[in-house]
Amino acid sequence: MLKTLRKALSSSAGRAALEFLLVLALGMAFNADGAFFKLGTHRDTLRQASVYGILACGMTMVVITGGIDLSVGSILGVSAVSFSILTMHMDWPWPAAVLACVLLGAALGGVSGGLVARAKLQPFIATLAMQYFARGLAKYITGGKKISTYVTAKSGEVVIKELPSIFKDIDSRILWGNLSIVSVIFFVCIAVAWVFLARHKWGRELYSVGGNEEAARLSGVPVRMTKFLAYAFAGIMCAVAGIAQAAQETQGDPEAGKDYEVIAIAMVVIGGTSLSGGRGSMGLTLLGILTIGYLQKILSINAVPEAWRLMVTGVIVVLAVLTQRRRAK
């Protein structure tokens, strides 16, 4: 028994699973008069973790190359306002608007990727700059105001337009109200990221570049392209997350996604994907997403004041990362 446990804990997956179970146990102990045992709680947990989870999918790719992306929250914001403007104000059909947002996200992510891969900027710096730039872009596009169905006409008259149906569709639920479409989108993102990481040549190359860049280069791996694509992929995930966020809020907020990068990074790292690169997986990230998602939910159903919630989250992130640290040989 003890031996099986020790063996399970010798792998990152085992430790990530244990962390998740501990958080669930915490929920059972502090169940807020049984609220934790209600299906609705779990449904909401998943829904609320979904947007962060989508960001974490892209973040995983970048972190596996040994990089980091601090711009995901800002690119989410650009995407949220762009999608809102295109569908609400410009009456674009939604598939065209989605495509435009995805291309924009890929372009912004790609700029970070280019700066890292070609100009050899440190990922921290390149994406910090992109964080500012994209946030500024979101404010420029909107003039700093939230984009909603209230449209000011040229005459100065305020018209209330009808909310495009895509907003309601994304924010709806299936399976008798138990699964939010945003969560479905999240699962699709996880699946896409997983299939690339585990089954595509590019996924393998992400690990090689993160594990030993020089060895990868001398094995003929296109190091620069591999890194560039990781950031571009993260940008696409931001675009998708931004659309989901806009739908949930039924508006495009230029401040949307602020500080989300920190949560996305925490999810990836708690899963056990190494910030030094070369190790990790989508499965681990999924466990990390659920761990953080549940932790937030448990704190909120117990009505823990925000001040305490932040401090507890900080402590738990440190504890989780400490348990994930590989023992030096």
Binding site: R199, H200, K201, W202, G203, R204, E205, Y207, S208, G211, N212, E214, A215, A216, R217, L218, S219, G220, V221, P222, G278, R279
Partner: protein, 516 residues
């Protein structure tokens, strides 16, 4: 006259393997004492003991007749021993003055006394006759000035014994002259200098005394005047070549790889070129050995041919009669080349990945369909390659990190065999692996050449070079100094060429070897 430093009966082993065995070594004031020996003879270990890098050695060290036992580099420094390594200990973004006083800044109440610092720094530069801008950042200096600055730093710390480990290896001829004049000044002030070099020319010019190490033992120590070149080489080689290396008779075919006028410049523009207009060719089924001591440029030559030094390599390459332009490793791989790099952990394997992933790393494109990997095909290839290399692993899915050294090396070789190369560039294929695994690799080299693969082999082990090569080119400071057939080759001839002696008769006959 009493010795400045005197080491007696120094022994040291690494994990049970003796590296030094009862070595005596002295440095007198005002002398340059050259420490000579082949790669792995124990020179660095001896120096490191003097510099306090190891504490678990046997034997005694006396400084000025006083017993000491430095157990840290800092303590050795305080005792007046300075070591100038090839990896420099300067802080690149700091200024020349700050670097000179690093570790012993002039302070008052915790604040740096800037004016006194400058005065101290400029005095230190003056003492070695070096003219540098005190406020300039060290990172803006050429590598040669940094090397000389390192010496000035040692002098300022009142080092009495200064150890220089191949100090001229990165220097061009002009800077080397400056180095020699600094050494002359240091001698005149009564300091003792331990000088490690692989250049015969430097030994003849600088040495007052020469001590030769071989396989961890002191095999000869005498005044330089009484150590003629031939005897020095004989002392360094010393051992008979046995036939542990089973090289089967070869029948070289057509030319597989031709290299003409190939050069690699240093990372630093002012440094001498690492490879200087080298031309060679290797035939199918032939093993061409590249001999040379540390910094001969052979590794950079292979790396450059393979496209691993973009922007720094130039020259003409021909593979099987067709001109090839290599801008990145992928171009070379596609042309049928493979480079086994000399450090499997740093540049060969991705240790965090599975053995299978490592073996398939250079062939992923071929193994995948539209970029989608085929794990079954990869596993099949890895199993086949693993078996042919007699690679022992509990599972090919385990991380390469957990393999033993010999099996890691086989995984690194496996990566290239999987790519089905026609020309193998092998840089130290048997470094750091056990005898059994070495033997396996020699067998494999025979099998590969029998299949018509051409091999360029770098090895720092003389017996291996002599036994496995069908032909040997010896390099010294980026140039080929000798070409020897299997029958002509001897340890003495290889070694003296590796130390810079050009075989004049051959050079004239070949017409392509230039004098250094």
């Amino acid at each position: 006259m009493r010795a400045l430093a005197s080491m007696r009966g120094i022994s040291k082993s690494f994990g049970g393997a003796p590296v030094l065995d009862g070595v005596d070594f002295d440095v007198f004031p005002g002398e340059v004492h050259v420490l000579a020996g082949e790669n792995g003879a124990g020179k660095s270990t001896l120096i490191k003991i003097l510099a306090g890098a190891y504490s678990d050695y046997r034997g005694t060290i006396e400084l000025d007749g006083r017993r000491v036992r430095p157990v840290s580099p800092l303590e050795a420094k305080r005792l007046g021993i300075a070591v100038i390594h090839q990896e420099l200990s300067l802080v690149p973004p700091m200024s020349v003055a700050e670097n000179l006083l690093l570790g012993s800044p002039l302070v008052r109440a915790g604040f740096v006394r800037a004016r006194a610092q400058r005065a101290g720094a400029s005095a230190a530069l003056a003492e070695v006759g070096l003219n540098l801008d005190l406020d300039g950042a060290v990172e803006d200096l050429p590598i040669s000035s940094r090397q000389l600055l390192e010496i000035a730093k040692a002098v300022r710390l009142e080092a009495r014994v200064i150890v220089m480990d191949e100090p001229s290896s990165a220097l061009n001829a002009q800077d080397a002259e400056l180095l020699f004049s600094i050494i002359a000044r240091l001698k005149a002030t009564g300091r003792g200098i331990v000088y490690i070099t692989h250049r015969m020319e430097e030994i003849q010019r600088l040495a007052d005394r020469v001590t030769v190490l071989r396989d961890g033992r002191m095999v000869g120590s005498r005044e330089a005047a009484r150590m003629p070149e031939r005897e020095l080489v004989a002392l360094m080689v010393g051992r008979e070549v046995d036939d542990r290396f089973p090289r089967h008779g070869s029948a070289p075919g057509s030319v597989a790889l031709r290299v003409e006028g190939f050069s690699v410049r240093g990372a630093d523009r002012s440094a001498r070129p690492l490879v200087d207009a080298v031309s060679l060719s290797v035939r199918r089924g032939e093993i061409l050995g590249l001999g040379g001591l540390q910094d001969s440029g052979a590794s950079q030559l292979l790396l450059g041919i393979f496209g691993g030094l973009p922007g720094r390599a130039s020259g003409r390459l021909e593979v099987e009669g067709r001109e090839l332009s290599v801008r990145r490793p992928r171009d070379a791989i596609d042309a049928g080349l493979a480079l086994l790099s000399n450090d499997r952990k740093a540049t060969g394997l991705v240790l965090s990945q599975s053995v299978t992933a490592n073996i398939c790393a250079a062939s992923l494109g071929r193994l995948s369909t539209w970029g989608w990997r085929n794990p079954a095909r990869e596993a099949g290839l890895a199993a086949r390659i693993g078996a042919s290399l007699r690679l022992k692993a509990a599972s090919l899915d385990m991380e390469a990190e957990s393999l033993s050294g010999g099996n890691q090396q086989k995984a690194a070789i496996g990566k290239w065999l999987a790519a089905d190369p026609r020309i193998l560039l092998l840089d130290e294929p048997t470094r750091g692996i056990d005898v059994g695994a070495k033997h396996d690799i020699y067998q494999l080299m025979n099998e590969w050449t029998a299949r018509g693969i051409a091999i360029l082999l770098i090895t720092s082990e003389m017996p291996e070079l002599l036994a496995m090569s069908d032909r040997i080119l010896v390099m010294h400071r980026g140039r080929i100094t000798s070409e020897l057939s299997r029958d002509e080759a001897s340890a003495e001839r290889v070694l003296s060429a590796a130390m810079g002696k050009v075989e004049a008769a051959e050079a004239a006959a070949e017409g392509k070897v230039r004098r250094c």
